[in-house]
Symmetry: C2
Subunit: 187 residues, 2 copies
DNA sequence: CTGAACTTTCAGAAATTTCTGAAGTAATAA
DNA sequence: TTATTACTTCAGAAATTTCTGAAAGTTCAG
């Protein structure tokens, strides 16, 4: 594996972006490398390619492991470990969504739920609770929906994506065809 | 406005979460306050409630302004400005999505597109380009899709959300009814 | 058991981000 | 015009995050 300008710009940009998706720059860069390398890489090689310390590589790989984004393999006769990205692009996106949901949405929902259970001590708190309930419902909706989308087959998901705002038309159509029936009950 | 334990826990948690959504802790806290306060708040009050400096409040409000998440108002006879969160919960979520798309997805897509245009200098780069194209297509799909969802009316969006994985059934059904026609073309 | 090859851990260093508060700007009333 | 009140900016301080590299841990062949 060699750091050509093309690969470099991808890796660096992915590093910046990675930090938006819940992990730091280095972790993003390591992941980018593993994704675009056909051959699995060993920790030393990763460190050299990115110009970072061996310890940092180890921590980065550990983090990626906790996201279930890397696969470890061995070459016969070699003691060291080789790393590679795991699954298809879709799988990766799914993992990142899933993991972020667990780390961010779930704790928030739980906190909001707790607050909703409390008795409001004054009108200000009562108003706050109303707003908090709205936020809770929105987040819960989004969470449940994305979860159910994740359970769809990749083909269906693709159809859905390609539909775009056409989804609106399909809904109308379904609505009309089913007459009285509420499409929400179809789930 | 008073900082009761309920309000405090909401504000602090929102602060932590906020940083995941593209702004820092203080900005998240300020926003949380503005969302759950029925009355608009002035900058001084915000600073006191959160125990942060006046300058920091100013910067935070500026940031929220750039996200179009706050509304400024005035009280008759008062010189100072009062701030309040803007729009419904749905609007807020939309703004955050929109803004993040502009700041994160668009530059990434543009970079990936550039890389795809380059001539691969060797087999390694050729492989990298294939992967990059996959990622590009995925991101583009997601971007376009979420954009078209945002253009749906809140009611339709709600129906869609409530459908959950029932979306799969609707698709099947549409598929069957339309016979040969590819639903992807319906958009 | 020993030593070589490799990985992990973690205390402190370095880099980055965020925050403060004083100085500057702006608007208004008297 | 001057005094007053409020908002903004930004250099440097403080806090936080990330990274390094040495030490400790692990595995395995001989």
């Amino acid at each position: 594996m060699q750091m050509t300008p093309m690969i470099e710009s991808f890796v660096y940009h992915f590093g910046e972006m990675g930090s938006r998706w819940g992990f730091n720059r280095t972790v993003g860069q390591i992941y980018a490398l593993l994704v675009i390398s056909e051959q699995p890489l060993c920790a030393n090689e990763i460190g050299e390619l990115l110009g970072i310390s061996r310890g940092n590589v180890s921590m980065g790989l550990k983090e990626l492991g906790s996201w279930q984004l890397v696969q470890v393999s061995h070459k016969p006769g070699e003691r060291r470990e080789f790393y590679h990205s795991r699954g298809s692009i879709w799988d990766m996106a799914n993992r990142v969504f899933e993991e972020r949901r667990k780390r961010e949405m779930d704790p928030t929902l739980s906190l909001l739920r707790d607050i909703m259970m409390d008795e409001a001590a004054n009108p200000e708190e009562a108003f706050a609770q109303k707003r908090i309930a709205e936020i809770h419902d929105l987040l819960e909706n989004i969470t449940e929906w994305t979860q159910s989308l994740q359970s769809l087959s990749p083909e269906k998901l693709n159809t859905l994506m390609k539909l775009g705002s056409g989804v609106g038309k399909v809904l109308e159509f379904t609505d009309k065809f089913l007459g009285k029936k509420d499409p929400a009950k179809q789930a």
